[in-house]
């Protein structure tokens, strides 16, 4: 059944090429940069943002004064005015801030690619700086109505993202026979990659099945290792035209296709009130993403899938068409997510084991893989799917070298 859908996706992609030529491969990520990742970094979010952005520009070989576009996503404390004047950007003609926290990571690159492809700007910077390791947990702020229908959930003690996603995870286990071992497969693949990545928080801390199965609960059915890290850090990337990228320091990584996803009758994190709560935003983004692509899920060499919680991986594998509905958990079996498996994922360690910086490290790791410079490199990788937060209005990118 998975193969059938993959074939259909490829056919649809071929029909749609003419309408989407404007974005496809028109731009590329030419530079990436990051700060160290840690539980606590002494510098401010603003300073970390500037360091990551300047590192990305240096990586591209582009002067800060050439930057004329910025894109970020919500829960970012530093705005483009502060960043632009600190790093010494030129006159800025495009700026965008995408909503829904971790759902917006890939959309920053998408917005810059669209702006550059349509002549609104020439050199774009997307970034994320966050002190989630040493700063407060967002859900502890009871004065703010988080972007969920709080009146229907919070009084009952459904307080945290882990509780909200745990509800869908329990139902998914019930409907499709997914087990904690499947979630462990996800956690282990991410940890194994982190153990190969000196920049990862969990570089020197291996994970065993026994550790996972005896870990403390956060929200049953999710345990500690089903939850992402809490990290201080910042990352950035530089987007330019494909032509300009070919003159930069590294092999260009082209933005092949991009999409956002807000499904009909979706309710955000607490997507409990429609026909099928397990069909999340990834399904919506995927349809558009593949429709405009020259290749399909079967052609993806490596994937960077948003992993705030382990169950998001099987749900996303289904949504993005790597397997049929209900098969996402089984897909993780037999080392499928490891290097050499059917679909290596989160090769830097992801949010679960490298750093949780609202998914931006998945974008930069996708770029490294397609440059051939990953710490845990998938040999010969030329195509990469990068996704943003599943369970919130989301976004995704197809990158190719």
């Amino acid at each position: 059944m998975g193969a059938t859908r993959a074939t259909a996706v490829t056919a649809a992609a071929q029909d749609a090429t003419a309408t989407t030529a404007a974005l496809k491969d028109a731009t590329a990520i030419a530079g990436i940069g990051q700060t160290p990742f840690a539980k606590r970094l002494p510098e401010s979010e603003k300073a970390l943002a500037c360091r990551a952005i300047l590192a990305a520009l240096d990586d591209a070989g582009i002067a800060p004064s050439e930057v004329d576009a910025f894109a970020s996503y919500t829960m970012e404390e530093t705005d483009e005015v502060e960043v632009a004047k600190a790093v010494g950007a030129g006159d800025v003609t495009f700026f965008s801030k995408v909503g829904y926290g971790g759902g917006g990571s890939c959309a920053t690159v998408a917005h810059l690619a669209a702006a550059i492809a349509t002549g609104q700007a020439s050199v774009g910077v997307a970034w994320r700086s966050r002190k989630r390791g040493s700063g407060p947990r967002p859900w502890t702020d009871t004065r703010v109505q988080l972007p969920t229908p709080a009146q229907w959930t919070r009084p009952y003690g459904l307080l945290r993202p882990a509780d909200e996603i745990g509800m869908l995870a329990r139902r998914y286990m019930h409907e499709y026979g997914a087990t904690r071992d499947h979630f462990f497969n996800v956690a282990l693949a991410c940890r194994n990659r982190a153990n190969q990545n000196p920049a990862a928080i969990m570089y020197d801390r291996p994970l065993t099945r026994e550790m996972y199965m005896t870990a403390r609960w956060i929200s049953e059915p999710l345990c500690l290792f089903d939850n992402c890290l809490e990290t201080d850090g910042a990352l950035a990337c530089v987007v330019v035209s494909a032509e300009r990228a070919r003159d930069c320091r590294h092999r260009p990584v082209y933005v092949h296709s991009a999409a956002q996803g807000l499904p009909a009758q979706s309710h955000g994190m607490v997507n409990y009130w429609n026909d099928d709560p397990l069909t999340g935003p990834s399904w919506t983004a995927a349809r558009r993403l593949w429709k405009t692509a020259d290749f399909g899920p079967q052609d993806i060499d490596v994937a960077q899938i948003y992993d705030a919680f382990t169950p998001l991986i099987p749900l996303s594998l289904e949504g993005y068409g790597f397997c049929a509905r209900g098969e996402g958990a089984a897909f993780t079996e037999g080392g499928a997510l490891e290097i050499g498996g059917r679909l290596p994922i989160n090769t830097g360690g992801g949010g679960l084991s490298e750093a949780y910086v609202h998914g931006f490290n998945l974008i930069t790791e996708g770029v490294r893989q397609l440059r051939g410079t990953g710490a845990a490199q998938v040999p010969g990788a030329t195509t990469c799917l990068v996704t943003a937060g599943e369970g919130v209005p989301t976004s995704a990118l197809l990158l190719r070298s």
């Binding site: 009952y156 745990g166 309710h267 409990y272």
Partner: protein, 161 residues
């Protein structure tokens, strides 16, 4: 509306109800809580096409009518899913952890699933039913609990205790 400060301090062991977050209804949601205060579980439905919708909103996503009414439900449902939260939590919830949060599919409107707590009686603690008693598919019935701030929330009792 004031909310108790539950973000700071304390061991969290200061009593069951203290510091539990009250609902903060918006304009569309307010009638739900008004009916609950009268011991009725009602769901907003379109006055034009009759479709129930949740959460409440200004117009019908099926026929775009702005006219709505509040349909009385039997109060019967089944558990669609549930979680059992453990700390770290806000202090008032940590004091009752591990407790349950259930998602109940209404017998009269299966696509409407209400978040709530399965409790031993309407005013009992959030941890008053052992987690082992909770199963997906378990039949439950609505009960009404008046919170400290005067608003009434819907809770759930086992239909066969």
């Amino acid at each position: 509306m004031t909310q108790p400060d539950t973000t700071t301090g304390g061991s969290g062991g200061s009593g069951r109800a203290e510091g539990v977050l009250p609902p903060v209804p918006d304009e569309d949601g307010a009638p739900f809580f008004d009916y609950a205060a009268r011991g009725e579980l009602r769901v907003q439905s379109c006055a034009g096409c009759g479709e129930p919708r949740f959460p409440p909103r200004p117009c019908c996503p099926h026929c775009q009518s702005f006219d709505s009414l509040w349909k009385k439900m039997s109060g019967r449902g089944r558990i669609w899913s549930y979680v059992v939260p453990h700390p770290p939590l806000l202090p008032a919830y940590a004091a009752q952890a591990p407790y349950n949060v259930v998602l109940v599919e209404l017998a009269d409107a299966p696509r409407i699933r209400l978040v709530g707590n399965l409790v031993a009686s309407a005013d009992a603690a959030l941890n008053s039913v052992a987690p082992e008693r909770i199963r997906i598919g378990t039949p439950v019935k609505a009960a009404f609990h008046r919170t400290d701030n005067g608003l009434t929330v819907v809770r759930w009792l086992l239909e066969r205790p």
